[in-house]
């Protein structure tokens, strides 16, 4: 556990992220928060009578006012936001070692970014139940990203269903948080919907894990015996161009249905395809 098998992780740069909403709370942080404060991000000018704080009088604006009213600068306080990552650890996530690979990278990066931004970070791994050994409560200590990585590397995805994710949703803080929901979303759409319902309070960023091997990079001809990683059922498949086209069309339709579901709830998913694209992730998170 203490001796990672692979080479040392590369230098990770924290990525910034921005919220479209104002977090509540009292701990000073990096995000413009609720309420009005004497410092933080400038928000607007208000008359002195509305906010009797003569230390913040803006002389330039006051002199420009033809009515001679005194203006005071008002600021939004900077607050922290809890960042949580919910990782689906059901059997389907075992495909291609995704959890130990891309997902661990993504979570470590998010943990690092959260800690550097002064936010607290929590990790919840779940299959049919919440997996305590892949769960870290909210914390903002240094080196958290390595802990996150180690937990995810040690995690063995297995089991069926996503009930544990509902359990994890119940364990999230009561105030609005930034929640990354990492899954391949191969569960039925109703389950996804129920899960999103349970996360109604939070700002959810669905991270849709996909693998080109089962969607585009299929062999044209041949026989494959496929076993369901969750249920263990097996099926022999005779691949041929016509069937391959049907398969790819079905995958597209499923992705379109999922995108539709997210769009109805105003969620913008982040695709996590064959490799973690840090730049695209940064861009998406900076948009808020």
């Amino acid at each position: 556990m203490t001796e990672p098998a692979g080479p040392p992780p590369p230098d990770r740069q924290p990525i910034p992220y921005r919220l479209r909403w104002r977090p509540e709370g009292i701990v000073p942080g990096a995000h413009p928060g609720h309420g009005e404060g004497a410092e933080g991000q400038f928000r607007r000018h208000v008359p002195l009578l509305r906010q009797p704080d003569p230390r913040r009088i803006d002389l330039r604006i006051s002199l420009r006012d033809p009515f001679g009213e005194l203006h005071v600068r008002q600021f939004a306080p900077r607050r922290t936001v809890p960042v949580a990552v919910l990782v689906d650890l059901s059997g389907s996530m075992r495909f291609g070692g995704a959890v130990a690979g891309r997902v661990a990278d993504l979570c470590a990066l998010l943990a690092l970014s959260a800690v550097r931004a002064g936010d607290s970070f929590a990790l919840y791994g779940a299959d049919a139940r919440l997996r305590e050994e892949v769960t870290l409560p909210l914390a903002r200590r240094r080196g958290l990203e390595e802990e996150v990585r180690e937990r995810l590397l040690a995690a063995r995805p297995g089991g069926t269903g996503a009930d544990g994710l509902m359990e994890a949703a119940a364990r999230l803080p009561g105030r609005r948080s930034l929640v990354f929901l990492v899954s391949d979303f191969l569960m039925p759409l109703e389950t996804t919907e129920r899960l999103l319902d349970a996360l109604w309070r939070h700002d959810v960023v669905p991270v849709v894990l996909s693998d080109g091997a089962v969607e585009e990079r299929l062999p044209r001809w041949g026989l494959i015996e496929l076993g369901d990683l969750e249920t263990g059922r097996a099926r022999l498949v005779f691949l041929r161009p016509g069937f391959r086209a049907r398969w790819i069309a079905a995958a597209r339709a499923r992705r379109a249905a999922l995108a539709d579901l997210f769009a109805r709830r105003g969620l913008r998913p982040v695709p996590l395809a064959d490799a973690l694209d840090t730049d695209a992730l940064t861009e998406r998170l900076m948009e808020g």
Binding site: V214, W221, G222, I224, A234, L236, R246
Partner: protein
């Protein structure tokens, strides 16, 4: 009810050399449980569209595996069809060849030791009888010989190869005397246990005769009354010998002087259909035999024997074919190429070794 009957029918016609090996047939269930392919993980089978062709192929491959195992086991156990007897109807007879083995048969028709291209009587008889037997494949034939005393050679049999071998042996050097009466008694006795409704015939081949004892004469009449047979006498007449149809001058017509003629007369009194052929040359023998051939063409029910047939080789061929199919299926097996195994930061040492160049992408 049906099960034991079916089993009985199966074991009646079919058999194996090593029944214990059949216990291995239980292994034929194995391909139904475990396939030949390596199972590749897939996040969810719901990703794969339904495909009846694949389903049929999977079932066919499993059945092929079971067939391969079953055929191998049957081949190892030595599957064969047992010897079969099929009753058929044809034309023929039950025939006893009664051959004279006296030493005079070794002479030619000119009654001396054969020289040059001359043929001895026994050699001519052998050649012509062999052809005769060859023309009558459905006959059951017995062979008896007589000389100083009667010699049973072959009981009634279907095995014509044996009959031909017995006929081939008649030109061996013979013995001295000719006891035709007891020879006939022996020939009749062959039919004692024969209850078939077929025509029966005795073909007596001799070149001479001797006195038939009175007691033997009585016994022969008795036997002829009990077993209705057709009697043919092929008399190989040497030059100088007296014919059987010639009536000698009165006074000389005694059995001692003309044993052949008196045997002929005696046989006529037996009360069975009787014909005598007098042959003075190989050609005449051939004519006589052709005449007998024409006479004895009544329907006969006979059992055709089909020898045991080994099915081990076809079983192995089937197994080989099935295995070739499975091999072909195995050779077109493909695998998915998940991205995670190459792009993952946490790839194991194996992944590092295998995919070192591609890791840089990540």
């Amino acid at each position: 009810m049906n099960g034991p009957g079916l089993l009985d029918a199966l074991t009646h016609d079919w058999g194996v050399d090593h029944p214990a090996v059949l216990a291995l047939a239980a292994l034929a269930l194995l391909p139904l449980v475990a396939g030949i392919f390596r199972r590749r993980g897939l996040p969810a089978l719901e990703l794969v569209p339904a495909d009846p062709l694949s389903r049929g192929l999977a079932a066919a491959l499993r059945v092929t595996g079971a067939i391969a195992v079953l055929a191998l086991v049957l081949g190892l156990a030595g599957l064969h069809r047992r010897e079969q007897g099929i009753e058929r109807e044809g034309t023929g007879a039950h025939l006893v060849l009664l051959l004279d083995r006296s030493s005079s048969m070794d002479n030619s028709f000119a009654d001396r030791a054969p020289t040059g291209d001359q043929e001895s009587k026994s050699a001519a008889a052998r050649r012509l009888l062999t052809e005769f037997v060859g023309r009558r494949p459905h006959d059951r034939i017995a062979v008896a010989a007589f000389s100083t005393s009667p010699m049973p050679v072959l009981p009634l049999t279907d095995h014509h190869a044996v009959v031909e071998a017995a006929i081939r042996a008649i030109d061996r050097p013979g013995l001295a005397f000719t006891d035709v009466g007891r020879g006939l008694a022996l020939a009749f006795s062959y039919f004692a246990g024969d209850i078939d409704e077929t025509s029966r015939a005795v073909l007596l081949v001799s070149d001479g005769a001797a006195l038939v004892d009175r007691r033997v004469q009585d016994a022969l009449r008795d036997a002829a009354a009990r077993t209705p047979v057709h009697l043919y006498w092929l008399f190989l007449r040497s030059r100088g010998a007296k014919g059987i149809f010639e009536v000698p001058p009165p006074g000389e017509d005694t059995p001692q002087a003309n044993p052949e003629r008196h045997l002929h007369l005696f046989l006529q009194t037996l009360g069975v259909p009787y014909r005598a052929f007098e042959a003075t040359s190989p050609q005449a023998v051939a004519d006589a035999i052709a005449e007998i051939d024409r006479q004895e063409t009544r329907p006969i029910r006979y059992v055709e024997r089909i020898p045991r047939r080994d099915f081990a080789r076809p079983a192995f061929a089937v197994a080989g074919g099935a295995l070739a199919l499975l091999m072909a299926a195995k050779l077109v097996e493909r695998r998915l190429a998940p991205a995670g195994s190459t792009a993952g930061m946490a790839a194991s040492a194996r992944a590092v070794r295998d995919d070192a160049p591609r890791r840089r992408v990540a």
